[in-house]
Amino acid sequence: MFIGAIGCEPLQLRRVHLENSRWLDVYRRNGGYEAIKKVLDTMSPDDVINEMKKSALRGRGGAGFPTGMKWSFVPKDSPKAKYVVCNADESEPGTFKDRYLMERDPHMLIEGILIAAYALGAKTNYIYTRGEYKYLIDIMDVALDEARAAGLLGNKILGSDFSCEIYTHTGAGAYICGEETALLSSLEGMRGHPRMKPPFPAISGLYASPTVVNNVETLTAVPDIIKMGGEAYQKLGTEKSGGTKLWAVSGHVNQPGVYELPMGYDDMEKFIMEDCGGIANGKQLKAVIPGGSSVYIMRADQIIGKDVRMDYEGLVAGGSMVGSGGFIVMDETVDIFESTKNLTEFYKHESCGWCTPCREGTDWLVKIFKRIENGGGRPEDAQLLLDICDNIEGKSFCPLGDAAAWPIQSAVKRFPEDFEKHLVNNSRGESKHKGELL
């Protein structure tokens, strides 16, 4: 498995290969906690937010919201406590970058949170991980203890007037708790249901107080932005998507791993075929889900020879999204009907049950997939699947509903042959509709 940078100097992954990279002294010897020192010595909170804006860093959790702007939404004059919450739920299928960052460079995350807390005036901050990441919590707790002992956390950090604390918290194993408002409900000890937006967390988040929720990778980018300056960081990537991005590559490539690429990396075909070592076992590329399970699946012919740039705009132009950067590569042996069924079962399992379309829609979709798989497919089922997705999309309470619909919509439309073969070669042997399903 490969962990490293391609096309740029490693930034986020700079220290992961060092021996004992998790320990404080290694982190400090390699430039750690210089950014927070710089912030405390020379920068005002507004300065920090300005640098963040200049960096053109977009949130790495999936939605890609500009981080500097998000921070600037927190009302400065609010008398309420403010919170920074690190979203380390990393529950999007195909995504496994945050875990490397926390496992191998936990202090980078702590430093990022400290800087965010300083910029926003937060005294209490949380790292929320998925239940399955218990071992990461242990690692983070050790690192937090180290930082505390070294005066980097707690009262009067580095002798300044700035004090703050960071606590860890685990969920109980629910995808929805990666959605920021459900995460906050869960953190408050309630059922992990999403909350209504507006009010957005920046205005009324944890305990109804101004809160910034950021992904791990977003926060770990912060120390470098401070050290090199927002502008320099932005220049690593493109004008609208600054910096570098981690891609968690899995599936049928010769060299899966966590790849750090500059934003705007050119292009996806080269990335798969050369950087990732090409398709395993001499097979052909069939499909890629580039940004975690919730984004549109891409056909090989949308990639090969299509010069798909790897950043927010490039992927949208190419027919998908950056999402969480969970890059799933599938070869010709994969039946997209089966893989889509698998994902749909995931969404059904993870639907929180709050709203009608997602709860009932995903349940129904899975039932249809199972029926088809068991030979009960009907030609009209392709249309039915699309129509159900259309009835979910844009109508659910939170984006999980959309996330369940998009993979199916794109799979049925882009891989009709994989559906057709299940629908017309069913147990009733219907075949007259071949080629006319959509």
């Binding site: 629910a174 059922r191 209504m196 059904k348 399992h349 993870e350 639907s351 929180c352 049950g353 709050w354 709203c355 009608t356 379309p357 709860r359 009932e360 829609g361 995903t362 349940d363 129904w364 039932k367 249809i368 029926r371 039915l384 009835n391 844009g394 109508k395 659910s396 309470f397």
Partner: protein
Amino acid sequence: MSTELVKVTINAKDFQVPKGARLIDVCRENQFDIPSFCYYADLALQASCRMCLVRIEKMPKLQTSCTIICTDGMVVTTQSEEIEKARRSMLEFLLANHPLDCPVCDRGGECELQELTFDWGNLEERFIEQKNARAEKYLSPMVANDPQRCILCKRCTRVCDEWMGEDAIEAGNRGANTVIGTYGGWLNCSQCGNCIEVCPTGTLLDGTYRHQARPWELTQTISTCTYCSDGCQMSLGSRGDELMRIVARDRYVNGLNGEFLCIKGRFGHPFVNHEERIRTPLIRYQKGGRLVPATWDEAIRFTAQKLDGIVAARGNNSLAVVGSPRLTNEALYCLRKFAAEVVETENYAVADAFSLKPFFESLGGPLATHQDIRHAKTIVLIGGEPEELQPLTAKQIRQAVRNGGAKLILINSVPIRLREQAAQFIHIRPGTENAAALALAGNADDALAARKMGVEAAELEILRQTISETQGDVVLMFGGELSAEAQAVVAQMPYTFAGEGRRILLHPLALFNNSVGALDLDVNGKSVSDLLDAAGVSIHAMYMAGSLLPEHMPKCGLSKLDFLVVQELFETETTAFADVVFPAASFAEIDGTFTNNDGFVQRVRKSIEPVHQSKPDWLIVSELAKELGVDFGFERSASAVFREIAERIPAYADLRYPLLKDESHPLQVKHAIASKRELAKEIAGIRRAVAELSDDGVKVSETPQVGHELFKLGTLTDKVPQFHLLAAGNPTPASFAISPLYQITIDEGIKREKAVA
């Protein structure tokens, strides 16, 4: 809501609406139909059913109109192909796993899901898969549950939490497996049944009425509850001569309580058709003999002769007339009239648990309505336990705090459940409630009051300060603990605390459905215990409508009477002493009015014919009067009685039945407001009494059990088998599939525990 108006355009028509108005409400008020399941006024927003989708210009997706606050210039479309498809698809989703067997569902005929489906029609069933099945079960003796019919609108869990503060039901599991469930399987709560009421489908069901009738067979009659002084409006569902159920469903009734009822209002009615109802008049011809059935003519004649004889021999005042705070104003008025005009006795009393007479005599400001309580800014509650005794008031307090940001100040010797909502809890020693009146009156006695109450003087200072700094309404409430002097002081508080932008409203926590009415009509009545003490001494006969309360029984002196007449529904400890018993009709069988603790006069309406040979109390009194030579002239019409009340009792002036017909606009009695007066005498009296209290009473630190009053078996609730299970601690049955009534036999011994209401 502010008075500022904003312009919204709905379906190309312009409307001026108050700033802050909610789009779904605005649409509906203007006759644009918006379907909804999860939206419920004054509950936390849920936005989960997604039925209320509309298109708003400049917004990317369809929006849920239940979450949208109108802003100026908003342009809304509520009808289009896109919207219709979205709404129909939500209904399709909801029906996917919902059984389509309405004919066997208890909610069939009044189910919101069924209604919408039929209204829209033209539904193609595309869902051909297996439905998720779940077994029917009981959650408690009162609540049955058919989980597969649930559409997860969560009205039930929200009313349980927000109205009741109980949080006894919650969603469990996740996604399509989500079910509404209890903690630990068996529902241990106050069994209000509000979850049943607000359920739009047949998921939560009345376990006592289940499979007994179809809603379309029932005649709905709007009436007033016969239990506590809150006076909830309800719909009595009767079939033929049988009262089948009681609901507050807003399709039938829209009173001050909305869809709220408590366990007693909702489930406490089976006494009406109970087999132990007294069927005919009964006469005990000889002391020590048995009560034997008689005809009405015979019983009336026999009674008249006896009363005549005793009055002739021993004087008018040897006869006492005693009413009950459960009776209608009409019945109480006739009793009073009987005492004054037929036998001309001075001895008339109402057998209430405590008298609010001193309060009403000093009343210095208006009574708070339940609506006022909901919107109050500060609520001070001295003593009492409305959660158990006036549940609607408790709900209004809770919502005022939780939804309206009101401050609740609790002065109680017990940390009652409302403590969870209290901004300040002044935890006093038992029996020192009167000291709170001293503290309200001023700081002169703070040292004494604080010492006796066992609190810091500063707490009393904060109490006064909070009241006098409030902008908006302050509601002062008190329970039965206050002495006559303390009641008078509290009643005068509007003169002390009212100010610019601040009203002081009063809310006495009377105990019974017509405690307030009984007082209004009782011009110069006596105390019932004085009359009972005089039994066999100066009083030799009594005429009672309703029984005495359990606390009156031990030294009631009834055995010393020469003659006792009682009007009752059931044979009770009181009728055991009676020489004649008249079968009285229950609230479900009569027309009349009750006056609640808001001072609202509300209609009681006849839902079924009087059972067996029973008659309305007022009519029995009139017939007896006639036999004694005085014709009241009311014929058989309760409205004629009420007309005379309105003519003779100033507070009821100008009221008439037709004016009381709309339960959504109840009318308040015009209680005379006493002018501001010197309270030195009362304060000195309270001071003296407080000074005599001990300094070391022990405060109760435990919150009382839910239901410790509600589940007590009184004459009426004793007739409801489910109440016996609750009174015995609501034991968990072996199987949830079968009604616990068929599984658990309750020891008769618990039945006779002392009951209050």
